[in-house]
Symmetry: C2
Subunit: 363 residues, 2 copies
């Protein structure tokens, strides 16, 4: 058992560090700020695996010339309401926001916008993209494929990424409903934390390299795989598997990116797939104009009422009752804006390594 006492950093300090680090690799100032925004949102919202904990990986990939710091993303095909974007192998944190903005502009002109993106890289948290639609009265959807970690139900090999789905709905007086979920049973980050603590993991999260259910995080990390949401056939593992396939097709097959086990790694230490079947990683964005369907104030009042109805459900024993999707992240943000972002010592060590490599002070 290793101590994992976190160290608190103000979000603005981490954000400023990220901006300067990205700029030091030639990322244009506006892109660097945007990329840092996406990372900061992850850290504030408590999705620790997708914030500055990933900065060293991005830096190493740029230093090795595996990510283009100054991409020119291009629309390679389009209709009134759809487009395919080639991300020019840029940071996903830059290509993603570009495509998401284009998607919202399409929606504002044609009622809806749908963009499939190829030739990109890891884009941060899916939820950030979904939330960009909220102030514009748009319902935004965001998905991405990712490096293979998840086994299809009844398989014993990593064939799909954790392939998240995010969507957000604005309320009037109540906070928005913000949905952001990976299509596997549990995030890889949770296994890593269990491993650091020397703890067991619940059954249903992972299999070992022989395809057997395991409660030992090392057995998954050493050639095993994560299980899809639903875990096994009885409890609906075929459903989580199908959702992972859906995200992969929309993000990568539709855009001409690498799908499934051929999705590129997001860090140098990861294995490179044996072959490529497309260009880079893929994302999928959608945007629907609420007023294309219903008056936005009417929609928002119903969202308020739905949130209140869900919260008012009689609690299951031992719980305080249902939350509304987005509640835990909003609560984390409230606390972390005040108290700072807690980083594990291992993450701080990575940031100090970035600081050493780039000459940019962390403190």
């Amino acid at each position: 058992m290793i101590a994992v006492e976190p160290i608190l950093f103000p979000s603005a300090q981490l954000h400023g560090f990220c901006v300067r680090v990205f700029e030091s690799f030639g990322v244009p100032a506006a892109d660097a700020r945007r990329a840092a925004d996406v990372l900061a949102a992850a850290d504030l919202r408590g999705i620790d695996s997708h914030g500055v904990a990933r900065l060293l990986a991005y830096v190493e990939m740029m230093a090795a010339g595996r990510i283009n710091p100054r991409p020119s993303p291009k629309v390679v095909r389009q209709t009134a309401s759809t487009a395919t974007v080639d991300g020019d192998n840029g940071l996903g944190l830059v290509v993603g926001p570009f495509a998401n903005e284009l998607c919202m502009e399409k929606a504002e002109a044609a009622g809806s916008g749908w963009i499939s993106v190829c030739n990109s890289n890891h884009y941060g948290i899916a939820g950030w993209y979904a939330m960009q639609g909220l102030p514009r009265d748009l319902i935004n959807w965001s998905m991405t494929n990712a490096t293979g970690l998840v086994a299809p139900l009844w398989g014993r090999e990593r064939r799909l990424g954790t392939n998240p789905i995010a969507i957000a709905f604005p309320g009037q007086e109540e906070p928005p409903i913000v949905i952001d979920l990976a299509t596997c049973a549990a995030a890889y980050g949770k296994l890593e934390i269990a491993r650091r603590k020397g703890a067991r993991i619940p059954r249903g999260w992972a299999i070992d390299k022989d395809g057997l259910d395991t409660d030992d995080p090392d057995q998954m990390i050493d050639g095993g795989a994560l299980l899809p949401l639903g875990s096994d056939r009885e409890r609906g593992g075929h459903k989580g598997y199908a959702l992972g396939v859906m995200v992969d097709v929309l993000s990568a097959v539709l855009s001409g990116a690498n799908w499934g086990p051929f999705a590129p790694p997001f860090a140098l230490r990861q294995e490179i797939p044996l072959r490529t079947v497309g260009k880079g990683l893929g994302h999928f964005f959608g945007s629907l104009r609420i007023d294309g369907f219903i008056d936005p104030p009417v929609f928002k009042r119903q969202i308020d009422e739905m949130s209140r109805t869900l919260r008012a459900t009689r609690p299951a024993p031992g719980t305080a009752g249902p939350l509304v999707p987005g509640d835990p992240e909003r609560e984390a943000e409230r606390i972390r804006l005040r108290e700072g972002v807690p980083l594990l010592p291992a993450v701080v060590a990575d940031l100090r390594e970035v600081s050493r490599q780039t000459g940019i002070p962390l403190d």
Copy 2:
């Protein structure tokens, strides 16, 4: 333990019976055929709970004047790529196909089409709608809300329907990938079968009226609730819950239908919610033109390769290896087209009751 030996009926015979039954209530001939098509697809594809097993419920609702047999569905609002449809309280099996067709026409004109539907009723299997896009090189999406059966995670009351998501992707040489899943851990139909057999159900499917996990189907049926996909917090029950909310918002809040616990019942014997918050039940359809993103032959060849890659995954112990979403339903259809549709005696008794009420012979 009660005997449940099924009786085989040719699909065409059941289809013809349904057409005549719908017509006897004044449903126009083309609508009656279309409604029967949707029911027949469920029975052939092995989704027994959504085929002719529901006919008596539809008939009773029409006989009681609770469903309009001759609706005039109307577009109440639209943009180039979106619309809201009021189903005029018609059969969902008539309103759904109408809206789905409109959605595909929008996609063919504007690249994508998205339709939210209010004032409808139970629309059959979500997968049927998704599959209509396949021959037209469209990626079709279909969702619907439904009568409340599912508890939000940490709640002990029924607040959401089984709210399914369906989407289908065409292949070239390989069969299409057809995804059709309810956002709960297990279908209500599976509990009913367990009850008839006097069998226990797996942990993670349901809670009793006190919110406690149960393996007794009667305990769920008697005031308990189904659990969302993922079952509990550890295994991702908050994700299935969030997906159920997503479907409800897109189908019902966006269209102005009744959402959550206010979704109307699909059968006379079910309780009517205490109040209404909109019009009828809601659906959501989407359609994307593949050639708006990529050349369809390129897309289909990659779908072929993805299917082959998934099937070639080394099998988990005790399994024959992963399937591709849609495989079990296609296999059921192959067998049932040849051998007939197996109906439980209770279902046959319901059909004979329909026959008695309408004077239309079953055999």
